[in-house]
Symmetry: C3
C-alpha cells in the first residue's frame, strides 16, 4: 500500500513537471528551430565547448573523490547526480526567466559554464553531510542551493551587465576571483558546514567508515584526474589571451601542494593517510583561484606549497577540534580543503592587489567579499539545513553512511 502511494505521488510529480515543461516546449522554444547563431568567435565557442565537458567531467570525479566508504559508494554517486541535476536546471531556469530576455540571448556557452559551476559547488558542499540525509533530499538540496549560488554570484560580481553586484554598489569594484576561490570553494565549504550545523548529527561521530584498497584507489584516480583537469575550471570564463597564464599558474600551484602535503603528512603522522593526502594535494589549485592572474609561476608554486601545508595541517589538527566544537561532522573534510585553502587564496589576493598594483581590482573589496561569502553561505546553509532536517523523517542509525536502504544489490551469496 505504502509503495503504491509513493508510486502515485512520484508519477504525479513527474507528470506535473512534464506538463509545465511541455507548455514551455510549445511556447518558448519554437524559435529554436531557426537555429542558434554564435555571436562571436567560432574558435572560442569550440574551446568553451571542450571546457564545459571538462568541468562536467570534474563534477563527476568529485563523486569518486568521496567514494571511499565501502558501504556508501553507490549512494555518493547517486547523491552527486541528483544534487547536480537539481541545481543545474534551477540555476538555468532562474537565469532565463528572471534575468534573460529571449532564449537566444539567455542561452550561450557562458550560461552553460556558470550552470555547471553552480552544480559542482553544491556537489562539493554535500560532502559535509553525505550519508546523513535520505536520497531524495540531495535532489532538494540541489534545487534550494541554486538561488544561494546566485546570491553569492550577484554579491561578488553582479548578474550580467544589467544587475550590478552589491560589492560594486558599495565599493565601485567587483571582487577579483578569476578561478573561484571564493565563489566556488568558500561558498561550497561554508554552505555545506551550515547544513551540517543545522543537522547536528552527533551519531555521525560514532559510525565507523571502513575503506578497502580499491574504494581508496578510486579516490586516488579522482584526485589525480581532478588535479589534471583543474586548469579548465579556473580559466573557464577568462578571455582567450589569459587562458595560458591561468593554466600555467594552476599547474605550478598544484605541483606545490602535491609536494608539501606529502611532506606534512609524512612528517607529522609518519605514514601518509590517503584520505588526507588525496584531498590536500588539491589545495594549491583551490587557493590559486583568487590571485590567478596576479602572480607568476614561481609565486604560484609557493602559494601551492603553503596551501598544501595549511590544508594537511587542518585535516590533522583543526578538523577534530572544529567538528567537536560545532557538534557536527564534516564527513569528507570539505572545510579542510575548500574552506581553509579558499580563505588562504582570498587573503593572498587581498595582499597581492596593493603589492603589485593590480588594475581593476581592489584589496578591501576582496576582503569584504571573502567575509561576505563566508557569512551568506553559512547562514543560508543553516536555514536550508533546518528545512532538510525537518523534512527528513525517521532516519535510523543503520542508514547513516550506508546505501543499503537505497539500492538493490546482487552479490554472490557467501558459500
Amino acid at each position: 500500500m505504502k509503495m503504491y502511494v509513493k508510486t502515485v505521488v512520484a508519477l504525479a510529480a513527474f507528470l506535473m513537471v512534464a506538463v509545465i515543461s511541455f507548455v514551455l516546449f510549445l511556447s518558448g522554444d519554437s524559435s529554436a528551430s531557426s537555429g542558434y547563431t554564435t555571436t562571436g568567435d567560432t574558435g572560442l565557442e569550440n574551446f568553451k565547448f571542450v571546457k564545459n565537458i571538462m568541468i562536467w567531467f570534474m563534477l563527476m570525479l568529485v563523486a569518486f573523490l568521496m567514494l571511499f566508504i565501502k558501504k556508501y559508494e553507490w549512494g555518493v554517486a547517486l547523491a552527486v547526480l541528483l544534487s547536480a541535476a537539481g541545481s543545474f536546471v534551477v540555476y538555468l531556469a532562474i537565469k532565463q526567466f528572471l534575468f534573460g530576455v529571449s532564449i537566444e540571448e539567455a542561452w550561450n556557452q557562458d550560461l552553460m559554464l556558470m550552470g555547471v559551476i553552480c552544480a559542482i559547488t553544491v556537489v562539493i558542499a554535500i560532502g559535509c553531510f553525505l550519508g546523513k540525509l535520505k536520497m531524495w533530499q540531495y535532489f532538494v538540496a540541489g534545487i534550494l542551493f541554486a538561488p544561494v549560488f546566485l546570491i553569492v554570484e550577484w554579491f561578488l560580481f553582479g548578474i550580467g551587465l544589467e544587475h550590478e553586484g552589491l560589492l560594486h554598489m558599495v565599493f565601485g569594484f567587483n571582487a577579483s576571483d578569476a578561478g573561484g576561490s571564493m565563489l566556488v570553494h568558500m561558498c561550497a565549504a561554508y554552505f555545506g558546514l551550515g547544513v551540517a550545523i543545522a543537522l547536528r548529527e552527533k551519531r555521525a561521530f560514532n559510525e565507523p567508515m571502513y575503506t578497502t584498497t580499491h574504494s581508496v584507489s578510486f579516490v586516488w584516480l579522482a584526485s589525480m584526474l581532478l588535479w589534471v583537469l583543474w586548469p579548465s575550471f579556473v580559466t573557464a570564463l577568462l578571455p582567450a589571451d589569459q587562458v595560458f597564464w591561468g593554466m600555467m599558474v594552476c599547474y605550478l600551484a598544484g605541483i606545490g601542494s602535491i609536494i608539501s602535503a606529502w611532506i606534512v603528512c609524512t612528517a607529522i603522522q609518519k605514514k601518509v593517510n590517503p584520505l588526507i593526502y588525496t584531498y590536500a594535494m588539491l589545495a594549491g589549485p583551490v587557493a590559486i583561484g583568487a590571485p590567478l592572474l596576479m602572480i607568476g609561476p614561481w609565486a604560484a608554486l609557493v602559494i601551492g606549497l603553503i596551501a598544501g601545508v595549511i590544508s594537511a595541517l587542518s585535516f590533522i589538527y583543526l578538523h577534530p577540534r572544529l567538528t567537536k566544537a560545532i557538534g557536527a561532522l564534516d564527513v569528507m573534510g570539505v572545510h579542510n580543503l575548500h574552506g581553509v585553502a579558499g580563505w588562504f587564496g582570498a587573503i593572498v589576493a587581498v595582499i597581492a592587489i596593493p603589492l603589485y598594483g593590480i588594475d581593476g581590482a581592489d584589496s578591501l573589496t576582496n576582503l569584504v567579499g571573502a567575509i561576505g561569502v563566508f557569512a551568506i553561505s553559512i547562514a543560508l546553509g543553516i536555514v536550508i539545513g533546518f528545512v532538510l532536517k525537518l523534512t527528513r523523517g525517521k532516519f535510523p542509525d543503520e542508514h547513516m553512511f550506508s546505501d543499503d536502504a537505497d539500492f538493490i544489490k546482487s552479490e554472490k551469496p557467501a558459500e
Copy 2:
C-alpha cells in the same frame, strides 16, 4: 600438439595480413610522405581532433558500463577492443577502396569520426550477446558489422556526395538524425538483438550474474563519464555554428533522464537497481539524437524526462517479457536503452518536423528511415548471428559469462 597447431595457424594468419598490408604500404602510401594538407579551417580540424579522442574515450567507457559481472570483467574489455578494432579497420578500408579515390581524398577527420562511430555502434551491439561467444568471434563480429553499418549509413544519408542514399532516391530527402538515434542506437540495439535471436542461448537465463560493490562502481564511473562526454558524440559531424545548440540540448536531455529514471526506479521497485539506473539515466542523450536541432532546451529536458521513464519502465517490465518471447537474453539490456529510447527519439523527430516546419527535413522520410533501420539491422543481425553460431564450436556451460577460459589469473591463493 593442439596448441602448436593453433600457434602455426595464428602466425600464418598474421603473416598473411602483414604481407597484404605491406604491399599497400609500398604502393599506395609513398605519396603520404608529401604530407597531409588540411583543406579547410585549422580551428575546425583541431576541434574534430578533440572530438575524435572524446568519442574513442566513450567507446572504451562502454566497456566499463558492461563490466559488472565480476567473473567476466576482463572478457568484456577484450571483447570491446577486438570488436572495435575489427569494425574500425574494415570500415576505413571499404570507404577508401570502394568509395575513395586517393588517400588524401579519402582520409580526413570526418572519415576517422565515422570510423569510430561505426566501432562504438558494434561495441554497444555486442552487449546483447556478451558472454555467449568465444573471444575470437567478437573480432569477427566487428569485421562483419562494418558492411552492415555502411548499408544503414547509405540507406539513411548516402555515402559521400556521389552515392545517394536509398531514402533520398525514394523521398527526395535524407533522414534527419544529427545525433545518431537511428544510425547508432537503433542499429546497435536491433543488430545485437538479431544476433542474440540467432544464438538463442536458453542457458543464459539460468546463469547467475553476481556483482560486487566495485564491479558496479566501475559502471557508475562509466555511465557518469559517458553522460559527460555525450555532447561530443551528438555534435561530431555538425557545422561549427550548430555545435553549441547540440551540446545544450544534449545536457538538458541528460538532466531529464537523470531525474526521471531515479523517480521511476524508486517508485516502482522501492530501491534503485544500479544496473537499471546507470543505463536509463543515459536515455535522454540517446533520444535527443534525432530531434537534436529541432527543439530548444526546455523541450530537450522534457524529452529527457520522458526517455528516462520509458527506458526504466522497459528494463523493469518489457525486458523480462521480450527476452522470454524471443527466447534470447539481451545480456546488458541494450534494447531497453538504445532500442527503446532510439525509437522514442526517432518518433519525436517525426512529430517535430511538421510541428515546427523544420527546413530540409521530412517527417515521412524519418518514419520510413526508423522502420528501415530496424528491419535492416535485425535481419542482418540474425544472418550474422547464425554465422557466429555455426563457427562457435563447443561452448560448455561454465564458459557462459565467465572469462576463466580466456585469461591467465594470478590471484593470491586462499590461505
Copy 3:
C-alpha cells in the same frame, strides 16, 4: 623523538624551499601582473591548452597501468605524483634560469608541454624499479631525471634556437622523432633499466605479485584510455597542418597492436595474460613515434601489427632471460613495451627516410640518435641508480612491493 626530528627536518626543508621561492616571487614575477600575451594564433594556443591537459591525463593513467599489485596500489600512485612533481618543476627551472631570458619569453605552451613530457618519461621509467625504493626517493629520482632528459633532448634536437644539438653539430641534421619513440620511450626504458641494474635487487625475483580482479580492471581502464589519448601525445608539438596526419597514423598503429598482441598472447600461451596484453596493445603507438610523418595509414597499421608481435614476444621470451642476465627485475616490464617498441620505431624511421626520400631528415642521424639515446640513458640511469641505492638505508624484505610502511589504512577488521 625520532618522529620529532623528522618533523623539524621536513618543516625546515619546506621553509627553505618556501623562502627561496618567495624571493623569486618578489623579484621575478611582478612583471607577470602585466599579463601574458600570446604571440601567435589564439586557436592554436587553445588547442595546446587541451593537449597539455590530455598529456597530464596520460601521465596519471600511467600510474593506474602499473597498479596491479594489490598490496602496492597506493604506493604506485604516490610515487608517480612525487616523481612527476620533482622532474616537472626542475625541468621548468632549468629551462627558465639556464636557457630562458625573461619569464614572458621562457614560459609558453610549448615549455609546459615539454615539462609534462619530461615528467611522463620519468613516470614510465620508475616502472622498472617501483617497489624497490623508499617513497621519498621517487621524488629525488624525479629531480635527478630532469637534467638527464634535457641532455637527451639537447643531443637529439638542441634546446631552443640558440643551443644547437650534438647530432646537428656532427651530421647537420636533427633526429626525426615527432612522436617521441626515442626521446620518451627509449629514454624511459633504458634510464629505468639503468637504475634497476644499479639496484640489483635479487630479492625482487622471489616476491610474489598477487593481483585481484579489480586491481587488473584498473589496468584495463588505464591501458584503454592511454590508447585513446595517445594522439595528443604524438602530435603535441606538431604544426597545425600535420596534426590530423599524426592522429590518423597513431590510431591505425594502435589498432594493429590491439589485434596482433592478442593473437600472439593467445597463440603462445593459450590464454591471455592481461599484464602482457594491456601493455603490448600499446606497442603500435610507441613505435609510430619516430616514423610518424613518414608513412601512411596502412603502413601504420602494419607497423602496429609488427610492434604488437614484437612487444608480446619480448614479454614472453625476452623478459625472463634479460632480467636474469642483468640480475635485476624490470618490475612492470617497461623494457618490453617502451624499449623494444621504441627501438623498432627508431629502426623503421631509419629505413623509411631513404626509402621515401623524406625531406629534412637523415637516416644515419636517426640511427646514431637511437644508439646515443640508449647509451646516455642507461649510463646516467646506472649513475643515478647508485645514488639511490646508497641513500636508501635499510630496506627490509617486507617493504618490497608493499606500501604498508607508507600508508595509514582503515580497513574493516575481520570479524
